[in-house]
Symmetry: C2
Subunit: 324 residues, 2 copies
């Protein structure tokens, strides 16, 4: 059994707990939280400890799965965890990946540990599709569409507006754009042409709804470049209809092998639960990291560095006998 | 530049030639044929040699791409080529892969060479999807649908019937089955429920068409277990409407992360040219085999053993900076 520990118990931490239950070769030693452990009720039978007690588990955990956020938590803490443990995380600030990689790779090599960064579905499974598709169809163009699904970052941005009590934002790919891409037309698409943004907002009593709507629609980077729809609803409606964490998307590459012949490659995900699926991907990569560390590897890996067989729950060297 | 040689000049050999043209880091040293070299007119500017002269190229070719058939050619010849060269092939007799692997792995290790077997889209890209999907969603079921596309084996089987001058057979996935799978119903499907077979047959003058149709529909393994449609057409119609080598298919995995939440993963291909795309995959894996052999690896690999970054046309250790 591979022994994992889970650091952080938000939506993703819960997803990893549930995924660990589904993996027959994984045993969860415990959930490590910054909160008072007694206040955390895990969805599974796993024990809950204070993150301050983690050092006591050195040598007792094969891989730590880090479920903190990418904005501040992971950059501040992973370097510390990877001194004592093999780690897997879902760091997803694309622009900062090289810097994050370099820093952790150095620490891991110095300490003889191994980490996998930026694991999940994007970055993660979608990145693998982009690399594979681009390599086997070099004369082409690829597109990633996200959604329909909740964007946590955009929802948070709305919640920070004065007069907003709660909000959920869906990123929705535009059918017309998808159709053009799937027809192999390799269109140049602006951000506005690829996705639209649909917001459900609960306003404070007496708030100026027109002002809130205007503020959302004109918010730079987040909304100004998109077709944005704002719907005001009640807190009850929000809870009832918008509490599912569904998501998904598609990576499409369209290209030519000759002037006459086009090829279209697609990888798509339709997820009822974004954090549960992301958790499931993290657990599979924790298995790979454990195996590679047993083989003596140290440093930091991404999804591009790991042979697929190490993700396989069975004997990695036998996978080709049934799955090839 | 990575120097490749192409052995065999049928549809697949032509596909590899065209793919090598698209790869900026690949140089084709030559096409090696069993025919008289002067009778072969390659689609590209590459030189054509007799396969008997191959030994003269030892040390001058980084990777040989073997484009022979899986029924008799590859099992008979790969063991010989891999003594002197790194190789990549598209061996696709699923049941015999373990035996083929073991034999070649031994020879390659003895001779310090490296080979990749069973590369293409199925086995190949589809196998990678099956392994990845199964690993990240263990509580689920996967399905592979092929087509719409020409099955060479089934077309050949029809051509062997008395009174048949020429024939093309399309494998067509059934929409009703696809819909059930995509709805996450995880149905148990018989072969008849998954695919149908559509045949276009040119009969000899005066042949008994009713008898031919009956023979096709009752042919065990090939057609008896399927809904089969037989259309008689003229040789001209066959040439005009059925000479494209389009193909494709989809790998779908549907499963649960919890009782309430299902996740659906799909990888699909829509190919104007089956051999050109297969050739393009072979070239990407030739690049990986070259790089791994430079790293000192020997023996035989499948698509499951090779980190994705080695397929990347650019610097493999930089791929994560732009594609993750």
């Amino acid at each position: 059994m591979i022994k994992i520990g889970i650091v952080g118990y938000g939506n993703l931490g819960r997803g990893v707990c549930l995924a660990a239950e589904k993996a027959k070769d994984i045993e969860c030693v415990g959930v490590f939280t910054r909160r008072t452990p007694e206040t955390v009720n895990p969805v599974t039978r796993y024990k809950v400890y204070s993150v301050n007690d983690l050092s006591k588990f050195k040598g007792k955990i094969d891989v730590l799965i880090l479920c903190g956020g990418s904005a501040t938590d992971l950059p501040a803490t992973t370097g510390n965890y990877i001194k004592d443990f093999n780690t897997v995380d879902s760091f997803d600030t694309h622009a900062k990946i090289p810097e994050y990689f370099a820093k952790l790779d150095k620490i891991a090599k110095e300490n003889g540990t191994l980490g996998a960064i930026s694991i999940g579905w994007d970055p993660g499974v979608f990145s693998m599709a982009r690399l594979l598709f681009g390599s086997v169809l070099p004369d082409g163009k690829d597109y990633t569409f996200w959604g329909k699904g909740v964007s946590q970052g955009h929802s948070d941005a709305i919640r920070r507006i004065e007069g907003v009590k709660n909000a959920i934002q869906y990123t929705v790919p535009k059918e017309t754009a998808l159709e053009k891409v799937r027809a192999g037309l390799n269109p140049e698409l602006t951000v506005r042409e690829k996705h639209e943004r649909v917001c459900y907002v609960v306003a404070e009593d007496g708030a100026d709804k027109a002002k809130i709507e205007k503020e959302i629609k004109e918010m730079p980077n987040y909304f100004a470049d998109y077709d944005t729809t704002v719907n005001f609803i009640s807190e009850e409606e929000l809870k009832e209809n918008h509490s599912k964490l569904a998501h998904g998307g598609v990576v499409i590459r369209s290209g030519k092998t000759t002037e006459e012949n086009s090829e279209l490659l697609q990888l798509s995900l339709k997820l009822d639960s974004n954090p549960e699926f992301t958790g499931s991907v993290l657990v599979a990569f924790a298995r790979a990291i454990y195996r590679l560390s047993v083989n003596g590897e140290t440093g930091v890996k991404t999804a591009f560095d790991i042979p697929l067989k190490y993700l396989y729950p069975g004997n990695p060297d036998e996978a080709f006998k049934s799955l090839l």
